[in-house]
Symmetry: C2
Subunit: 152 residues, 2 copies
DNA sequence: TATTGTTATACTCTATAACTATA
DNA sequence: TATAGTTATAGAGTATAACAATA
């Protein structure tokens, strides 16, 4: 029979069993751990998760518009502006005039941007291996697939 | 053979395939969707994900200390203060004097707090069902288990 | 009229240092 | 000395309204 502690004393161990049944709560905790680790991994390169993600999409999609980048990253256009500002100020990307639409920019990574991206990619891959070392590769893929399904 | 678009034009579709291989990126997107949905679900009760989580742990662990609650929620003690302040101000919890330690509080949900928690739990369960409707129950459990393993 | 990028603004969550009162 | 709770502060991410220039 389970011993019950005297409620006048602090509980010796704390249960969050109810919350542990909700994906959002567990996901928040996992994501906080991941974000801290990836940001620490990218800090030596003066990048963060968000700036790395933006740079990655620009490298892979030369000529894209800011609105396309915002859509791809699932962030609001106003919040993207300072991210692009930062990458441009550091000469990692260019805001070229968009041919045929004088309102828009055609984003493009510079050589410096591509080189930094290559280094950052290595750091992120090491981070990923570290964070998912408790999972098999099949599990890791399944995790990503389930998260993608939830997002929709 | 794949058609390549003219790089002077904006890419017709944007690829984030590289990023999609990293759990942190996919998790961030899934978590943003979840947090928006759970906060919208809890808004009619004037709760947010964080205040609901705190209330849940207090309901399940009467008499716990603030430092125990901060540990349970994986947040820093200073950040917990305003959360507990808010719950106390709304008479959802009590900061009782902790017997035997005049520095500490013994947290306890009020009847009002327990009633609100019951309502909120229903809202969160509906939210969970909505967000994971693309997953089987086995998959949902596996997802939570994998996220828990990553957190460590 | 609608869209692109921008500014301004506000809210939430997070992280750290330093204080107080107790232990 | 160390711990519980607190204050102050700063950084990062997110969301919305409104604007100028252009379509």
């Amino acid at each position: 029979m389970a011993r019950k502690h005297n409620p006048a004393d602090p509980p010796p161990t704390i249960s969050d069993a109810t919350l542990r049944g909700f994906s959002g709560y567990v996901m928040k905790r996992a994501f906080n751990a991941i974000q801290a680790d990836v940001n620490a991994s990218l800090a030596p390169l003066d990048l963060r998760m968000l700036t790395f993600s933006a740079l990655s999409v620009i490298v892979d999609n030369p000529g894209l518009r800011q609105s396309q980048l915002a859509d791809a990253l699932s962030i609001e256009r106003p919040n993207l502006v300072i991210v692009v500002d930062e990458l441009e100020r550091r000469d990692l990307i260019l805001r070229n005039p968009a041919p045929g639409d004088r309102r828009a920019y055609a984003l493009q990574a510079t050589l410096k941007g591509m080189r930094l991206y290559t280094k950052a990619l290595g750091a992120v891959q090491a981070h990923e291996a570290r964070m998912t070392k408790g999972l098999s590769e099949d599990e890791r893929q399944a995790l990503i697939a389930m998260l993608s399904r939830i997002e929709t």
